[in-house]
């Protein structure tokens, strides 16, 4: 629809015409609130969030979404370690080297995952700060949730980059955010968590809804942060390790505890009523499973099969007890190493999907019968623990064992990813005892956990290396490996397909786009 008036006038009409133009010139160029609400109040920038509950929904939805993604945060925390490798298989998973550089620590300031997580987490910090701001009039409970979320997001920034930009919500775009040092950011995270604990709801260890933080969730994170204080501050403060022990004891006093029985049932969503799980998000576990399984490993709810990418390393497999060359069901391997199915054990329920380390012949359930699967070239689908010579490129479609904490045996796209467990807290306490020089007490705690895991013998002694290995065996693929390896000083060490480094990769590079937009940031050493 278009109206067009061309008015031709004679000279004597100029004056009225100009008046008409003048009248029209008051036509507004302001946009109307037809689908959104403009911020209102004294500031053009920020006058409080209009709906703190809605903002918190977004903040926690984002944490969930980022946890469900196999790239970005998950890739940086797991593929950078000895737990995972995403080998380039012919042309598949080449992706311009984005996965290879993470594994061998050659990521640079333009690495897409590094930039993405930087943007995600820093943005989340600001949105939490907005909810916390008095202008938002959030309830004390909402402020406590926002402080927990800010601490969680800011902790990742300080852990990943060692520098934390901080923006006051009322600052306009012309204000360059200030930059907190690692120590200052650490202090702010500890303060937020301490304050959050006071106002968060009481813990309900058997609740079917662990999507939002309770006191135990904040205590867990505070214990985690303090246990890493030596990395962030150079050395532990005198009370740090005692605080870790006391926080874990308080979580236990709330009713959380170690859960025996089937280890992999701990990760069976969508809700987690077991007293081991402290926090979970609603994100689907689909990406975590299908990113590794072969194209021909399909499920009635995912007939297209897996994406044949993520694999684990033989050297990580070797940290577990059991036979070296088979992980078949019914063997003597320790429980946490999981199992692969045989033709005989494959049935309509498990559809051939095992748990833990997957290598050797893979089976599926097709047309009412168990079958040995084939790869795309028609050869038996036999995953090998070993890779092509270089490991990174030139792989075929069967190299590399696959690692499943969540399995399609429980459904192709089960919901719910575990974020924090009591077993982790329990091991944090053991580590704090060990670091305080009390190796005997630490060993008792570690063996208490091992005792409830089937086929897992008690350790005779405990040192730093065996402590780290135990954390690996219990907590693999739960997002802690990078953090653990840095704390134990071995993230830089040589591993399969990576030579030893100088340690600069313990901190990620500041993204190039961030350096461009904030002169207060300085590139981390080595990049």
């Amino acid at each position: 629809m278009e109206m067009k008036h061309n008015i031709k006038m004679k000279n004597r009409l100029i004056a009225p015409f100009l008046m008409f133009v003048f009248l029209l010139s008051s036509c507004s160029l302001d946009i109307t609130e037809s689908d959104s609400i403009k911020t209102k109040g004294a500031s053009a920038v920020f006058n409080g969030v209009p709906d703190p509950a809605g903002s918190l929904n977004t903040i926690f939805n984002d944490i969930s979404g980022q946890a469900g993604d196999q790239a970005n945060l998950y890739a940086l925390t797991e593929v950078s370690t000895d737990e995972l490798l995403v080998p380039t298989r012919g042309t598949d998973w080449g992706d311009n080297g984005i996965w290879r550089t993470v594994h061998v620590h050659t990521f640079g300031p333009t690495h897409n995952f590094v930039t993405q997580v930087w943007n995600d987490k820093n943005s989340a910090v600001l949105r939490c700060t907005e909810v916390i701001d008095p202008l938002s009039n959030a309830t004390p409970a909402q402020v406590a949730e926002a402080k927990f979320a800010r601490a969680y997001n800011m902790w990742i920034v300080l852990d990943f980059w060692g520098q934390v930009p901080f923006r006051n919500p009322k600052d306009g775009p012309e204000v360059v955010p200030s930059v907190l040092s690692r120590k200052d950011a650490y202090a702010l995270v500890v303060k937020d968590l301490t304050e959050a604990i006071a106002d968060l709801p009481a813990s309900v260890p058997t609740s079917s809804n662990k999507l939002r933080p309770v006191k135990a969730t904040a205590r867990f994170l505070l214990a985690k942060v303090k246990l890493n204080s030596n990395v962030y501050n150079g050395a532990y403060a005198s009370s740090d390790l005692d605080d870790v022990i006391s926080l874990v004891d308080q979580i236990k006093a709330d009713g959380y505890g170690l859960v025996g029985g089937n280890y992999f049932d701990l990760f069976k969503g969508p809700t987690y009523t077991n007293i081991d799980v402290i926090w979970n998000v609603s994100a689907g576990a689909g990406n975590r499973m299908w990113n590794s399984l072969h194209y021909n490993q399909s499920h009635p709810d995912n007939t297209g099969g897996g994406w044949n990418g993520f694999s684990t390393l033989a050297e990580f497999y070797n940290k577990f007890e059991g036979p070296a060359n088979t992980n078949e069901i019914g063997g003597t391997q320790e429980e946490r190493r999981g199992y692969t199915h045989t033709l005989a054990t494959t049935n309509a329920t498990n559809k051939g999907f095992g748990f833990g380390f997957q290598f050797g012949q893979m089976y599926g359930f097709k047309d009412g019968a168990a079958v040995a699967l084939k790869d795309r070239t028609g050869k038996p689908l036999v995953f090998t623990k070993e890779f092509a010579v270089s490991g990174l490129i030139g792989n075929n479609e069967v190299t590399g064992a696959r690692l499943l904490k969540y399995s399609p045996a429980n459904g192709a796209f089960t919901e719910g990813v575990v974020m924090a467990r009591y077993a982790d807290a329990h091991l944090m306490k053991a580590e704090a005892l060990l670091r305080k020089g009390n190796a005997a007490a630490a060993l008792t705690e570690v063996n208490a956990l091992r005792a409830i895991r089937a086929n897992t013998s008690a350790l005779a002694s405990l040192n730093e290396a065996s402590m780290l290995d135990e954390r690996g065996r219990e907590l693999y693929l739960e997002g802690w490996r990078r953090n653990d390896m840095i704390r134990f000083g071995v993230f830089k060490a040589a591993k399969q397909f990576k030579t030893a480094g100088d340690g600069h990769t313990d901190i990620f590079p500041i993204p190039a786009s961030a350096l461009l937009s904030n002169p207060g940031l300085k590139q981390n050493p080595g990049y």
């Binding site: 109206m3 209102k40 053009a44 809605g54 955010p177 937009s517």
Partner: protein, 575 residues
């Protein structure tokens, strides 16, 4: 491509866009001759509004997911029933609604919810309701947008002709747009031009039937690419979508736009100088032009200084894009008789493009294909032309068939042509006429993304068809086909763009039919190029989530449709 959770359930999306534009324009013309000066002036005012009202709805879990017609009907009927229930349960402006048996994060775990705000008080709220009977899809969610932008312009133009020899044109536009904040809402865009008809001067030799000198300078504004309300902080409920398990997460309120009152019009300043000439009664005529065009304050969606509410912010890039070059056009009327004519025309132009005064480096040129996620082929950096390729230098394959070279660098080539040329012939003999037009571009390079994604040894290794040359290239089936100069090709071409032959039926003077013409027209009849893909003249539109977020792309050929070859047999009748 099959998506998770689609097989066995079906997924559909319904989009509805309604665009309404209104224009009020008032102009005033003034003509006067004072002595030897002839004045023509135009003043005007215009006010335009552009309303874009749209919604998009996605549904999963169809009763019948095999028949597309049935799916379409089910999506539409479920949408209508869901929307009626949402509207019935909510009084204000609706941002979105969702209906599923699996509602996440809400106080209600199944049924429907509707989110929005009260336009008067600005209060946000969400309401829950029971699943309406007419919604047969397992889950459906819809998001609603309603944006209106305005442009208000004042403009004036004066043409002064002095002694029929000197021509002066001056224009001034003042454009205001609601896409900018109050600080820089209006842009002032002046321009001026001067021409001198030298052939009317006594000192010009008679051989020149036309000789005109021209020069001009002008500023134009641009606000393309900028969306609604990008400069201001606004809040609305985040979009809802339906997940793999047919679940819908209840959305929270999120912030749109970033406060940026200083956002302003992108400006292009152009200086040009040239001559028009004609010799021997314009039997040979032509023009020569030189221009320098500088674009500043480029509107670009850039990464915000974190922490930022939104990861990206529309800013005026602190850089200059310079285009400079020249153009020569010639026309020769070889024959010009009442019953026969023949003329040849040609033009050649050269353009040099450069991004200047820019300190950063931004990746661009998103490459697609399996195993090529997040790969890019171009980089925006100061001192290089736009669309400069940033690639691995491909040095062949090693003994084991793996590619040599794994470091992306500027390779000194760009997707922009440096030379453009055109050539046309027009002929007429009695009742027959003929016209043909060739065009060509030279100096540009095309990234053959299609070959990179499909025609590599890894592709046949994965049991996909490839072109024959792949088999003998020496590449191992296990090799990665990383982005490299291996797939960069010269895009030089000459195209037979248009060919028309016509016949005018001689008609006796009579009243009924005035003209009767038959013609045969062919377009894109042939293409001369060494490019191995289908067509080196590629134009693919940027997709969502591409690098540089919606900025135009150039030179990336990913299974682009080639230009069609068109034949038209026509008949023109005039009464």
């Amino acid at each position: 491509m099959l998506l998770n959770g689609v097989q066995g359930f079906g997924q559909g999306q319904l989009n509805n866009n309604k665009t309404t534009n209104n224009l009020v324009e008032l102009t005033l013309n003034y003509t006067k001759t004072i002595g030897k000066v002839q004045i023509e002036a135009v003043g005007g005012y215009s006010y335009q509004s552009f309303q874009n009202k749209y919604y998009w709805a996605t549904g999963r879990g169809f009763t019948d997911f095999v028949n597309f017609d049935n799916m379409q009907n089910e999506l539409k009927s479920s949408y209508d029933a869901g929307n009626a229930a949402a509207v019935g349960n909510f009084g204000g402006v609706i941002n979105n609604w969702g209906i599923s048996n699996d509602i996440r994060n809400g106080t209600q775990t199944s049924g429907g919810f509707v989110s929005g705000f009260d336009a008067g008080s600005g209060a946000f709220s969400q309401k829950y309701f029971a699943r309406p009977g007419g919604v047969t899809l397992a889950a459906i969610g819809a998001n609603f947008y309603n944006n209106t932008d305005y442009i208000q312009s004042y403009f004036g133009r004066g043409n002064f002709t002095i002694a029929s020899k000197y021509l002066i044109t001056a224009t001034l536009r003042v454009d205001g747009s609601s896409k900018f904040g109050s600080d820089n809402r209006y842009g002032v865009f002046p321009s001026g031009a001067f021409a001198w008809k030298l052939h009317d001067e006594d000192f010009m030799p008679e051989v020149f039937s036309t000789f005109k000198f021209r020069t001009g300078y002008g500023v134009v504004g641009n606000q393309d690419g900028l969306g609604y309300g990008e400069f201001i902080r606004r809040d609305r409920y985040s979009d809802v979508s339906v997940g793999d398990a047919r679940q819908i997460g209840v959305p929270g309120v999120s912030t749109q736009g970033s406060v940026n009152p200083s956002l302003k019009w992108e400006q292009t300043k152009q200086f040009s100088v040239g001559i028009d000439f004609g010799i021997l009664g314009d039997k040979l005529s032509g023009s020569i032009d030189y221009y320098v065009k500088n674009t500043t304050d480029l509107l670009l969606r850039a990464n915000a200084a974190q922490p930022a509410v939104n990861a990206q912010i529309f800013t005026n890039l602190n850089a200059t894009v310079e285009n400079k070059g020249w153009e020569v056009a010639l026309t020769y009327a070889a024959i010009d008789k009442p019953d026969a004519s023949l003329s040849f025309s040609g033009n050649v132009s050269r353009n040099d493009n450069m991004l200047k005064d820019f300190g950063g480096a931004l990746d661009a040129g998103t490459i697609r294909g399996q195993g090529l996620s997040l790969a890019y082929a171009q980089r925006l950096a100061g001192g290089y032309p736009l669309f400069s390729y940033h690639l691995r230098e491909f040095k062949g394959f090693d003994a084991t068939g793996q590619p040599i070279g794994d470091n992306q660098v500027f390779v000194g080539k760009s997707a922009l042509p440096t030379w453009n040329m055109g050539f046309s012939v027009n002929a007429r003999y009695k009742s027959f006429d003929l016209a043909m037009y060739f065009s060509g571009q030279f100096g540009q390079y095309v990234y053959n993304n299609t070959a990179n994604a499909f025609f590599v040894a890894g592709s046949i290794n994965n049991a996909r068809n490839v072109t024959r040359n792949v088999l003998t290239a020496g590449e191992a089936g296990s090799a990665e086909a990383a982005v490299s100069t291996r797939f960069l090709e010269s895009g030089d071409f000459i195209r037979m763009q248009n060919f028309t032959i016509g016949y005018n039926l001689p008609l006796k003077d009579q009243k009924f039919i005035k003209k009767l013409r038959f013609y045969l027209n062919g377009q894109n009849l042939f293409l001369i190029t060494n490019y191995s893909g289908l067509d080196p003249e590629v134009s693919s539109s940027p997709a969502a989530f591409d690098l540089l977020n919606g900025l135009p792309t150039a030179g990336i050929d990913y299974s682009a449709y080639p230009r069609p070859r068109t034949f038209t047999l026509g008949l023109n009748l005039s009464f």
